[in-house]
């Protein structure tokens, strides 16, 4: 396999900066590479107990009784909790847990099942014991009487008339049973724009296809973990690996029916999240066990528990139909998106609908979305949730359409590209975006124009769109006597954002990134900060840091002015030097002023709080070269390039890292990853040996092209960058496979079995 030479390049740029756009070493680098960073599993304290969770072996069953007597009697067991120990305050409330929201009642029964289990791995009870081993032994002594029910594991099966019903009270009229009876459809919505029937009439060519994609897991290395201490004064302290410390605080408080101010969450370092470290699982269980025992209780999941008991992203059934004229104009597009929610409502089908035709400027669109309960773990967020499945469908249809029209697939996309002012079916209108600039950069890239010779080789292209997020963030900055800054933020750092945030503060003040020491604080020590999701942190927390640095700068200028006994308006701060506009003798470096603060009126701190809106959309395109072994169905990725409109890239290396990481995960979706389920709802590959994610040996060096179309809604032009690169790879690989061996793939993963079946079918 030939690795493309790694040539990162910035295609567009506008303003010149001193710090932004450079590549300093990350502030937490030393801690991470020396193993000193403290993760949740590293938590230690005197008298710590170890918790374990009893989980359902059945995909669907009624719980007739739970007898924990023998477990409680085991020596070394301190406490057992079940659903009975959770408060039973009236539900109806919806709890935001970061990337998603959930009915409080469902949240509690997902934390510990009440009268039914809805998937294999559904938590039922918790135990705290003197050691992991004793806790595990106690699990074996718990006696649960189940009445096993028939189960269902795909969205189409879940929607069928004779499907077993997971939650009796759900009734979705549009697609409910006859007479509006119980249904597994938790939600149906439709987005409409223009007149789609008319649109298809105008089309010269129409392509319509069905797709099935498997449930996949985020595959973070670090399992979920928590330590909880319910103190005697009623305060609950939670140490955990999370993307949203404030959302954990809110969800734990809601679940346990205590005020948020009684809960303190300390976010430990996080060994990968990708959206999966948002939802609430064992945290309330650990808290209740701590309340019962008076001790801190730690729970760390096993890999099997991570696969079976946490939230992967939805498998889906998708139908896409697109029509276009011979001159390459799309006239109508239709999508039917049925997403697996898992055991409780809440798949990412909403985002799928928002993004499925996002890259295009379309006049006539209908999108139907269905959120369907199945006997699988409740779906969680996974990097651009819902969008990768949808783009796999839409972008292979676009490719086939271009082919049938005899058009270059990039030109066809350029012909129909979304731009500023494009209205989407959801009603939203695009601000300044870089879809066209991104496609132009892709078109002119050496990879797109290089020859690809030899049999069974093919090149595919695909694009993707992601909205990105914003919301609340807080930042405070203190200044040390040596001119360095301490920056406190509330955003858990999953992708180098300590540095990308610190750089924005440094830029404002004209100092070096290394002079800023960023730290992530607990929920008692910083203002409300919404979670690290939606590719939002460099945007929102960078903005808060910009505000805090401006606030600091104002005060520093005032202090310099008061030392010189002149007006603040007469003082400038440029390149880290304070200077009087009129008197060249009055000069002071940033460091000199910092050293004088305590003696001239005391310390100075800056603070910034934002509710950041307008993150701007992000667009990415991929070029994939593959070679398919027609004997085995194995697909090798020969060369892979990601082009992305990133907005202003604060730290290009980390942006490139996000593009490469997203592409690598997208390739995993494309070729290997899936929840391989038995008919009775058992996951048969719940280990990282059997659930096969790509390793560096499976991938070429992934080439990246940063296209900078600055976001006009951010002080430095930042857009989110973390999610969009995962969206196009499966479609790009599918399109490449088609060009290599002539089969149009309609399911994920495109593993050797799927490829061989497609080839056999093609060859009759």
């Amino acid at each position: 396999m030939a690795a493309a030479e790694y040539e990162p390049s910035v295609v567009l740029s506008n303003t010149t900066y001193d710090v932004i756009g450079t590549r300093p070493i990350r502030h937490d680098g030393a801690d991470k590479v020396t193993g000193r960073a403290l993760y949740g599993a590293d938590y230690q304290s005197a008298g710590l107990l170890h918790g374990k969770i009893l989980r359902s072996p059945h995909a669907h069953a009624r719980i007739n009784s739970i007898d924990t007597g023998k477990a409680e009697a085991l020596q070394g067991v301190y406490a057992v909790v079940t659903f009975q120990d959770l408060p039973d305050t009236p539900s109806g409330a919806t709890v935001d847990y970061g990337e998603g929201a959930m009915d409080l009642g469902y949240m509690r029964t997902n934390v510990m099942a009440k009268d039914k289990v809805l998937y294999v791995g559904h938590a039922i009870a918790g135990v705290a014991a003197i050691s992991d081993h004793v806790a595990e032994e106690a699990l074996n002594l718990m006696e649960v009487e189940y009445e096993v029910l028939p189960s269902v594991v795909t969205a189409p099966d879940g929607m069928s008339g004779d499907a077993p019903i997971l939650i009796d009270e759900l009734r979705t009229n549009e697609l409910g049973r006859e007479g509006g009876g119980p249904s597994n459809v938790a939600e149906h919505f439709r987005h409409e724009l223009g007149d789609v029937a008319q649109g298809f009439l105008q089309a010269d060519v129409v392509v319509e296809k069905e797709f099935n994609t498997a449930m996949v897991h985020q595959g973070y290395i670090e399992p979920q973990n928590v330590t909880a201490l319910w103190n005697n004064d009623g305060r609950v302290h939670i140490w955990t690996s999370t993307q949203g410390p404030f959302e954990v605080r809110g969800a734990v408080a809601a679940c346990l029916d205590v005020p948020v101010s009684q809960v303190k969450v300390t976010p430990m370092e996080i060994g990968g999240g990708f959206g999966g470290k948002f939802p609430l699982y064992h945290d309330p269980v650990a808290a209740l066990l701590s309340k019962k025992t008076g001790r801190a209780v730690k729970i760390v999941m096993t890999r099997k528990e991570v696969f079976e008991g946490t939230g992967p992203t939805s498998g889906s059934y998708i139908r896409v139909k697109i029509g276009a004229t011979n001159d390459g104009k799309i006239t109508a597009a239709e999508a039917y998106l049925a997403y697996e929610a898992g055991g409780y409502p809440g798949s990412p089908v909403g985002a799928a609908a928002e993004t499925v035709f996002g890259p295009y400027d379309l006049a006539n669109v209908v999108i139907d979305g269905y959120d369907v309960l199945v006997n699988k773990p409740k779906a969680g967020a996974y990097r651009a949730p819902g969008a990768t499945n949808a783009a796999f469908a839409a972008e292979t249809v676009i490719d086939e359409l271009a082919e049938k029209l005899g058009l270059d697939p990039v030109e066809f996309r350029l012909n129909n590209a979304a731009k500023e002012g494009t209205r989407r079916a959801s009603g939203l209108v695009f601000p300044r975006i870089g879809m066209i600039e991104m496609l132009e950069a892709l078109k002119s890239h050496p990879h797109w124009n290089a020859p690809l010779d030899g049999p069974n080789k093919g090149r595919g292209v695909a694009v993707g769109y992601w909205m990105n997020g914003g919301a609340e963030s807080s930042c405070t900055i203190s200044i040390n006597a040596d001119g360095t800054l301490n920056l406190i933020e509330g955003s858990a750092d999953i992708g180098g954002t300590r540095t990308s945030v610190a750089m924005q503060a440094a830029e404002v003040l004209g100092i070096k990134a290394e002079q800023v020491h960023p730290a992530v604080a607990d929920t008692d020590s910083i203002g409300y900060t919404s979670g690290t999701g939606g590719s939002s942190v460099t945007f929102k927390t960078g903005w808060a840091a910009h505000e805090a640095a401006q606030h600091l700068k104002e005060q520093l200028v005032q202090r310099a002015a008061s030392i010189w006994d002149i007006d603040a308006e007469a003082v400038t701060l440029e390149g880290g030097v304070f200077q009087s506009k009129s008197d060249p003798e009055l000069r002071m470096s940033f460091q000199e002023l910092a050293a004088r603060l305590n003696g001239t009126g005391g310390p100075i701190a800056g603070r910034g709080s934002v509710n950041a809106s307008g993150p701007g959309g992000a667009f990415a395109g991929c070029i994939a070269d593959v070679e398919v072994d027609p004997e085995t169905g194995k697909v090798d990725i020969l060369r892979f390039t990601v082009v992305q409109d990133t907005g202003k890239a604060i730290h290009p290396s980390y942006v490139e890292g996000q593009m490469q990481g997203g592409a690598a995960q997208g390739i995993g979706w494309a070729l290997n990853e899936e929840y391989y389920m038995s008919e009775s709802g058992q996951m048969l590959n719940s280990s990282l040996l059997d659930y096969r994610m790509p390793t560096s040996l499976d991938l070429p060096m992934i080439d990246t092209v940063i296209v900078e179309v600055p976001n006009p809604n951010h002080p430095f032009g930042v857009r989110g960058v973390g999610e969009v690169p995962i969206i196009p790879p499966p479609a790009a690989v599918a399109n490449a496979i088609y060009r290599a061996v002539g089969v149009r793939m309609d399911r994920l993963p495109m593993n050797p079995v799927a490829i061989m079946e497609a080839i056999w079918k093609l060859n009759g």
Copy 2:
């Protein structure tokens, strides 16, 4: 022993407050009483090494060689460090370590001796090993060749012409040897006011006496401890029990010659400080051991090390001469104060000079202060450093003078009391103070007016003055959706100041103290905050909290106004309710607005930074009833009352606690505590069994009277309260002993031996 009934009472008051003056439960109470608060010795981490310090067995010796080879070869030993491992950057710099400052060169040789040891317990080398036991064994294998030198252990001996010289380069001209040769006097200063010779000529009665007081230790329960991690990126992280995290940061940085921003100090909970948890000892040693080993290194002192290797307060030789007219007016006062600095310059003689005649309005004063090196541990700060020794001397002379003049001792003091405008010998002029109000309260107290019958019983009175401190402090406040606040401060909490600071924020905002969650942050997470000393925290950090709460209030009022679409000027916040001045319909509780912040422009935080000056002085008076056993010399305290001008008492219970605690320690000084030294400079009682501090069984309930003369320089009228109550007890007890058995005591402690010797002398 009869315990006086406990009747706290507030004598003066001015403004009415909602929160200030109430007695909420302390915020850290649950953590403290359940043993969950984390102290330095609780620190754990993977791969942690245990450090020990090699200490000098000699009071004074030259080090000819240190051979650590055998120790380094011992299995389980990871590293050894000596003075050679400290940087040798040019000295001359003075390092502020909180309550005191020290030449950098001396600081380093006190951390690990270079070519001389100056006291028993002087640190020489450090070792890091797999366990405490291996580290201790390694100490035994270190070979140090000493040349033992003659030693000196009292100030008068240290000043004598033939004294062995501790530090050759010290030359104090005023009192140096003939020809300005080497001297043990590190400093001599003189304060003068008026014409003292003329003053004594005007006096009808003059009393002059000499006093000797023993070196005493703060007696905190928790030994000094530190864990240091020198990370691969050059940053040094220190976890330690300290009163001054920012001062530790500065001192460690100076000692190791790294920028302050490379050092992060996490202040652990502190098990008592009283001034003794300021100076730098093993922190740089642990850091150097960590640098050598690549591991975190923890050092926890033994009790013997605490006594011998840390900074107790000075023993002293004092001469006081005071003259007065028959009508009770003091005409002149003279003090000669020679304080033991220990092995390096820096006794609290400066503060002794400032306070010795502080309670009085005097026209003619001369005070000579001497800082004298002796072969004892380098003196540290101890609650009102230097003042207790001086007040013991001055207040027994005042008592004798009153007696000789036939005047009531309280009236005599009132006659001469300091007041606003009184100029001291140091040149400083008193602002509004409460000496007279305090004395009036004492005079009218039932204790002062109660009969005291029976043989060998006596009642004594004495007063004391302390300056109190201020300086830099920082505070940030975030607001939670349930209307509670998170308050972050940089002041280590040694006396309940989390609560006294939180109450001041609550008062500003019209909410309850319980709605504020205060937390003490590490040095990376809050702006510069000077240490917890000088009774400064409730004053300065309370002020910073007041500023932060005002800042928060401003923004909240603006937010309410913007929600109502009216001018901010039209909105009031009273009793926790926002209200429009014109429209009574527009009302919102604090909690309601808090819940709406994220949806209406984002989170809000307040910050306050002050360089607080003008703490105002504090005055305390004590009444002591004693019974002396003339057969054994044992003194029982029958009743004890402390009266104190506290300024506005934020949390009266904690103010009373400070008054009781100060009195208890003062009684310990009076009757028992001392470094009992052999002639060769060995401390013979370096355990808490032999160094006898008073227990609750030795003391009656100590009555307290809070006199509130608000400090006009603080938003709530706060003065410092922590230190002044330790000052008068020894003198009050001495004066009571005189009235019980007729002996005028001239030394501390007044233990049975001292009492019996005085009685024998009296009886000839």
